[in-house]
Each structure stands twice: as structure tokens, then as C-alpha cells.
Symmetry: C2
């Protein structure tokens, strides 16, 4: 298609929208109302870091047929005008009395009969990105139309990545791989951890990331107590394991994987745990199949760890990946989401080195009819050396 669009040809967005509309019909939804950066990007191609400002809500309506309708702050009109969306209605935001709510109400009233159900994602792993008081006003003004849970319609479509999306995630994974390979250039015994974090982000940018939405990590002699804290200026020491984890972004698509680096010769306990994590990942790479449930992936990873003498850490052991750092489903004992071909997933086993210190290991895959296909280049079995 020669049609103008952003990131992908317009046909990509048209076909996503049509698949959403098929789901909507199956669930008798007259429209979907989308408010988050990821949902809006998914149907329109509208990509901007301006979402970082919490000042303004943004609304995209997916009607029962045809292209989405954007009801957005006027500052976004030029960028939205470069997407395939042509019905763009704007207001001057932020406005303390009426921040787009009357415009959104009128738009939905005109698009939808009075008995229509409007789907809004409202279940696990979602939130509504607009002021709650405005949502209550909107909901009352739209009556007798009802707002209902639209999560499943959005999740069942977004979770199956298109070939174009898989190519983007693979590309971001390759950027991170080049940066991970260069970590020995920027970190060694004596380098403060916060300096490692800063330099690692620069490596990701040098290798082609548009921006770096997430870097986490930790270092210690027996693993790490916690994988979400900001970096302290503590120097790396010989015998430490350094973990770096990144959600870098290119063209709106994330990678999310990590690597363990040993600062000099690791202890036997670290080596043993690293090996168990690597083997547990192999175990899952061999066994994951469409038709399983997310909780089966959790069970397989735990089983892989136990077979190699390691005790699984708490929490989820993998998740979806795409236009945000983490997506559903979650590899926990409770998630019954069906794994299907086309899902992009992380395998993220964690294992105890001591009672309160763990090691983690993460790879990114796409699930095919025949099983897992790696998107991140497979980590070396013994970890990496600094």
C-alpha cells in the first residue's frame, strides 16, 4: 500500500483493526475505547514519548467497522495526521472544566446506538489512562449505552504478534545483544554499579535503540537480593556476579532480557545456579508448545530448575513482550491463558543461591507451531566474563 503511515504501512494497522473488530463482534461490543500508549499505538501507529507527560488524556475509538477515530489533545494533531487515521477530533488540553469529555461523549453518542456496549480494557494488567472522575462523567453521559470489560477483545488480538511486529522485536533484541557483548568495555572490578548502568544505556543507544525505557540489574558475591532497585555507586568486586536487564526500544518495540557477568572466577554456588538457570531455559525451549497454558510454562521452568538441583525463586517466570516491557500472559501457577503461535514471550527463571539471594536469567522467544524460536541470541551456558 502506498498510503502514508508511521512505523508500518497502513495495511498493517487496517488488518489489526479488522481483527479487533472480529473479536468485538464475537463479544457484541459496539466499540472499543482505548486510552493507553500501547493500545493507541497498536491501532494507529501514533508513537511519541510525550505520553511521559501525565497532563492529558488521549482517546481512540475503534468502531464496529472502519478506521479508528481519534479524540485527542490538539498538540497531537500533526503527528496523528501522519498516521492512517483520518477522523481526528481535538480539544485544547489540559482544560480544568472539560478535558475532552464532552467531545468524546458526543463522538461516541453519534457513533453508537443507545443499546450499544462499549468495551474498555479493565481487567488484569490494564489500567485506564484518564482521570477517574472524568470516566464517571463519561459513563453517566453515555447511558443507556453501557461500558463493559473489553480486555479480552484487546488481549486476544494484541498477544498474537504479526510478522512485522516479530521483526521489530527481533531487531530490538539484536541491538541489545550488541550492547551486552560490549559490557566488558564499560565494566570491570572497581567500576561503580551506577556508572555501569549509565554506560550500558549509552551502549544501547549507540547500537541503535531509540530510547531505553528500562535498565535494571544488581551485583553481589552470592547473587542479588533484589532486581528492581536503582543502582548504588558501589564498585564491582572480584567474585561478584553482575546482572544487567534491559527493556530497550526501537520503533516502539521492546526487548526484555538479561545477562549475568562474572567479575573474575565465580564461586561454585554461582556457577551451579547459573548452569541450572540455563538448563531450565533449555528445558522450556524444548517443551513449550501452542495449546499449553501460561501456568504450564511456569511448571516446566520450575521442573527444569529442580532437575538441575536449583530451587525456583518466587514470582512469575516469564511473560508476554511487545510494545511494553511486559505484557500478559504471566508464567505463574495461576494463569490459564492459552499459549498460541505468534506469541512473543520471555522465559525468565529465577533460582536461589542462598535463602535471600537469587540469580535470574531471561531470553525472548516467539512461539511457533513447532515450538519456541529464540529472538534474543542464546546466552552462553556459563554466563559471561568481565
Amino acid at each position: 500500500m502506498a498510503e502514508r503511515s508511521l512505523i508500518f504501512p497502513a495495511e498493517e494497522f487496517r488488518s489489526r483493526t479488522q481483527r479487533l473488530q472480529d473479536q468485538m463482534r464475537a463479544q457484541s461490543l459496539g466499540a472499543l475505547l482505548l486510552t493507553t500508549p500501547q493500545d493507541v499505538f497498536y491501532v494507529t501507529g501514533f508513537l511519541t514519548r510525550f505520553w511521559e507527560s501525565p497532563a492529558r488524556p488521549w482517546f481512540v475509538i475503534v468502531p464496529a467497522s472502519g478506521a479508528p477515530v481519534a479524540v485527542i489533545p490538539s498538540i497531537g494533531a500533526p503527528l496523528m495526521g501522519r498516521t492512517w487515521v483520518s477522523d481526528i477530533r481535538t480539544w485544547d488540553a489540559p482544560h480544568p472544566v472539560d478535558d475532552g469529555i464532552s467531545l468524546l461523549t458526543e463522538t461516541l453518542q453519534a457513533l453508537l446506538p443507545q443499546d450499544a456496549d462499549i468495551g474498555v480494557p479493565m481487567a488484569l494488567e490494564t489500567h485506564l489512562r484518564m482521570p477517574l472522575a472524568d470516566y464517571h462523567r463519561l459513563s453517566a453521559a453515555l447511558a443507556p449505552r453501557r461500558i463493559v470489560d473489553g480486555t479480552a477483545a484487546v488481549h486476544r488480538i494484541r498477544e498474537i504478534k504479526t510478522p512485522a511486529e516479530i521483526a521489530k522485536i527481533r531487531h530490538t533484541c539484536a541491538i541489545a545483544a550488541r550492547a551486552f557483548d560490549r559490557v566488558p568495555e564499560i565494566a570491570s572490578a572497581g567500576t561503580p554499579l551506577d556508572t555501569v548502568f549509565r554506560r550500558f544505556q549509552s551502549l544501547l543507544l549507540e547500537e541503535g535503540a531509540d530510547w531505553v525505557s528500562y535498565v535494571a540489574g544488581a551485583a553481589g558475591q552470592m547473587g542479588y537480593a533484589d532486581v528492581i532497585s536503582p543502582a548504588a555507586p558501589t564498585p564491582l568486586r572480584s567474585g561478584d556476579v553482575l546482572m544487567l536487564d534491559t527493556g530497550a526500544v526501537c520503533d516502539g518495540y521492546f526487548c526484555d532480557y538479561d545477562r549475568n557477568y562474572f567479575v573474575g572466577q565465580p564461586s561454585a554456588a554461582l556457577q551451579r545456579t547459573q548452569d541450572a538457570l540455563w538448563q531450565a531455559t533449555e528445558h522450556a525451549l524444548d517443551r513449550l508448545r501452542p495449546g499449553m497454558q501460561a501456568r504450564d510454562a511456569h511448571r516446566i521452568l520450575v521442573e527444569g530448575l529442580e532437575r538441575h538441583g536449583a530451587a525456583a525463586g518466587a514470582g512469575r517466570l516469564g511473560h508476554g513482550l511487545g510494545t511494553s516491557l511486559t505484557e500478559w500472559p504471566s508464567f505463574t501457577p495461576h494463569d490459564t491463558t492459552e499459549l498460541r503461535a505468534g506469541m512473543v514471550l520471555t522465559l525468565e527463571p529465577g533460582a536461589h543461591v542462598t535463602d535471600d539471594h537469587i540469580l535470574v536469567h531471561e531470553e525472548n522467544i516467539v512461539l511457533r507451531d513447532t515450538g519456541a524460536e529464540l529472538l534474543s541470541p542464546r546466552a552462553p551456558q556459563g554466563g559471561m566474563m568481565l
Copy 2:
């Protein structure tokens, strides 16, 4: 205080919490329920990039007296345990059946009498960071306790920055200033804009940013049509003006200001507009006083532009700044928020160069009893040269 805490001494958070509790008493709120990274950080010191994962909700309750209570995913317990908060209740998230809602309900029920009102920020420039369906369950389970709008209690306290906060924002502004000064090292005629964006982020990291949550910009011969689009690989040309805008972060505090760079000799129209923006900023720097309203700041900036022969661009011309890229109030014709000493604000006039191209200019200030004090080093009047 020798008490352990993160970013600031515990006393900073205790005193913030007490000021919030004074507001809560004035508004008859039995508790505040906070869900966003900024609100949680404000009362606890809990700072992590892990919020980038939308998988899990996080809850912090500010009771009528005493320290906050954290009801959070167990993955956050070690980090929250390093803050001044000691009452930390956790669950294994994400959980598809009960993602912390029964734990949160029980906690609030035990803390609060049946006739209590629980404040949740729900007005302009807020959102609720939890699944909407879980909010509905929570709200029903807490009855007869009522959930009411807690925005004002939070905003009236958070908008007045403490000396410790002002020092942090000044520090981040200084990091950005050093990076802005080095832009001639990384950009000149022929450099693609997306390369400029990547290298500018690396400069910010080299100069001490922990991470770079926001970079925007644009380039063109007569200004720019749009200031929120991602960078294209278009090379800079002689005669272009390049605008770079950043929200870099250090210790959880943002700067948010921009600079215009001229690639060779600018046209008379660009020079004239740059001068008008600079003069309009001077005009506001001279005139802003506590006791004015946010809309007065808008009027003063428009007046400054007009006195120097420029037409104001649409949209807001400044806003609050702190632990997110933008905070309330908004310098629009409609915002009646009182400006008070201790507010950290951006002055962000935009002016037309042509009908559809603008220039923008932004500085960061703290409002004192005597007027504006710059936090960003004042831009050179004529812009900067590449």
C-alpha cells in the same frame, strides 16, 4: 535523623506525610489511597524503573496519622523495606483471580471506621494505576466507606517543593545544562536527527542522569510543525533551527527544558522569533509572583510575546515540574490554581514563525516570595550556534 531511607532522610518523608495528613484532616479524609509512581515515591522514597511494567498494581495508604502502609507485590518488598515504611503487606502478583484486592480491602477495613471517606486522586492530570474492574470491586467491598476525590489534598502538598526537592531539580537541570553545552560536539549540518537524539541521550547519561525519560525535538528551516514526533533520520541542513527538549532524571527528579540551536546563520524570521521568546521569558521572570493564578502566567507570557511582535502558539505555556515530566498547574487561559512560593514551574512560550511552524523556548524556575528564581541556567538570548 539516622533512620534508614532512600533518596532523602526519613524525616523528609515523615514531614511530607504529616503535611498530607493536615490536608486530609481539613478535608475530612480518613485515608489516602495512592497508586502512581510519583505519589508512592512522594511519601515513601520507593523509586524504581520497574513501574515500566504494567503487570502489577502497587498501593500505598496514607492513614490519618502515622506512617504510610504499603500493600504491594512481593517483588517490591526488599526495596520498600529499605524506605522508612515498616508496615509492608505483600502478595504474589500478578494473580488473575485476586491481584491484591482482598489484601488491600482487609487493610483498609482494619484501618478505617465504617463512616470514613477514602481519598483517591481522580481529577485533572491524574489517573488510577490499577485495573478499573478491581477498583469497582474494591469500592463495593469497602462500603459503607466511600471513595472520594483526594486530588486537592495531594496536589496542594506536592506542588510546594521542599528545599531538598528543589536541590534535586536544580541538580538535574545542571546535568542537562552540561549536556546542552556539549551538543555542538554531536550535531552539525549533515547529522541525521535520530542520531542527534541518540547522542544527546548519551551526553545526558555521561553528565550524570540516571536515565532519560524524555527527549523530544525537531529541526527545520522555519521552525517546526510539531514538537512531539520521534526523530526521523533526516540530516540537519544549514539554515535549520534544531530544538532539543529533555526530561532527564536524577534521584527521581526531572528537569524539563529545551534549547534552540542554529545550524549556521539563521534567517531573520527565526532570529526575530527566538528573540521574542527570550524576551517573553524575561517578561515573565520579572513579573511572576506568588498569589497570581496559573492563568495569569499564561497571560503574562502571551503579553510578552505580543510586545515583541510574536504570535503565541496554542496550548499551555508552562506547567509544574518535579517527580514527573509535567505536573499541574498548567499555564492556560483556564487554570485558576494559585501560584505559591515553593512551586517549581516551567516557562514555555511558543510562537509562530509561519502559520504552521513554531519555535519554543523553555526554562525551569522555582517561585520564591520575591519572584522567579531560575533552576535552568538562562539560555543565551540569540539561541545557540552549531
